[in-house]
Amino acid sequence: MTNVRASKISSVVALLASWIVVAGFAGAALAQPGPAEHAPPAAAPSEARKACADAMNADPKFAAEIVKVADEKAAKQRDDDTLKAHQDAVAHIEKNERQVIYAYAGMWIIAAAFVLFLWRRQQALKGEIANLRRDLDAAAGEATAGKGQA
C-alpha cells in the first residue's frame, strides 16, 4: 500500500518535473530573437521597363516632353504649397484683426464711459447749484421782507 502510494507520488513528481523542463525550454526558445529579417534584394529592372526607358531615350523630343510634364507637376505642387502658406498667413492676420477690434472697442468704451461720467456729473452739479441759489434767494428775500416789516 505504502509502495503503491510512493510510486504514485514519484510518477506525479516526474510528470511535473518534465513539464517544468519543457516549459523552461519553450520559454527560452520564445525569448530568443527571431531570425534577422533581410530586405528583399533590389529588383533588377525588368525587361519591359528597360525597353520602355530605351524607347524614351531613343527620341530626345519624346524624352523632353516627358520631363516637361514632370516639371509642370512639380510646379503645380509648389504653387499649391505657396497658396497654402498664404492662406496660413491670412488666417494669422485675421487672428490679429480680432485683437485689434478688442483693443479699439476697449478704448472707445472707456472714452464713452468717461464722457458719460463727466456729463452726468455736470448735470448733477448744475441742478444742485440751481437748487442752492433758489434756496438762498428765497432766504435773502425773506430776510429783506422781515427787515421791511420791522
Partner: protein, 237 residues
Amino acid sequence: MTKLAVPVFAVLAAIGLAVSCYLVFFVAPLEYSFNEANKLNGSSLFFNQKIYYFHVAHAFWLFTAVGVAGTASIGFLVKRDPRWDDVASASVDVAVAFGAVVLLTGSIWAKAAWDVWWQWEPRLTMSLLLWLILVGYVLVRRFAGPSADRVAAGMAIFGMVGVPFIYKMVGQDSHPAAGANGVVATMQSGMRLPFWISVASFLCWYLALVFSRLQSTRAEREVRELRERGLDLGVLS
C-alpha cells in the same frame, strides 16, 4: 474761454480721429520684417500693429497729463491758489481714463504679439503702479476729508516723479524700445503721418476732456461756496 475750448477741441479731436482712422486702416502699410535668411520675421505684427497708433498716442498724453498734474500740484502747494488744484484734479481724472486705455490696449497687444496678457517686467509694472497712484489720488480727493487737496497734491507729484523712470526703462524688457532708436523714431515712412495725426487728435481729445472736467471742478467749488453761504445764513443745516 473754458466753455468755448471744450467744443472747439472736441470737434478738432473728432475730425482728427476720423482722418487718422482712415489713414491707419486704409493707407498705412502692414508691419512686417525679414530675418537674415530673408524669411518673414517671427516678430512681424501685420494687422495687429494698428493698435500701436492709439496705444502710443494715449501713453504720450498719459505722461503729459501726469506731468501737468504734478506741476499744477507744486503750484498749488506753493501758492495755495485753488485754481492750480483744479487743473491738477482735472488732469489726473483724464490721466486715469488714458491710463486705463494704455494698460488695456497694451495687454491686448501683448497677447497678440507675445501670446501673454501680462508680464511682470519693470516697465509694465511701473505703468500699473503709476495708474494705481492716479486712482489713489482720485480716492483721496473723494474720501480724505478737509486736507484731501494737499495729500492728493503730494500723490500727484509722486506720480510725476515716476514717469521718467517708466520712460527710461527701455531695452530691459520685451516692450518695444523708446527714444532715438525706438519704434517711433525708426517708423516706416508710410506710418508716420497716420501716427502723428493720431497723436495730435488725442492731444485735442485730452484738452477737451480736461477743460470739460475743469468746468465740473469749478462747479463743485461753486456748490461748496453756496453751501457755506447757506450755512452762514442759516438756510441750510
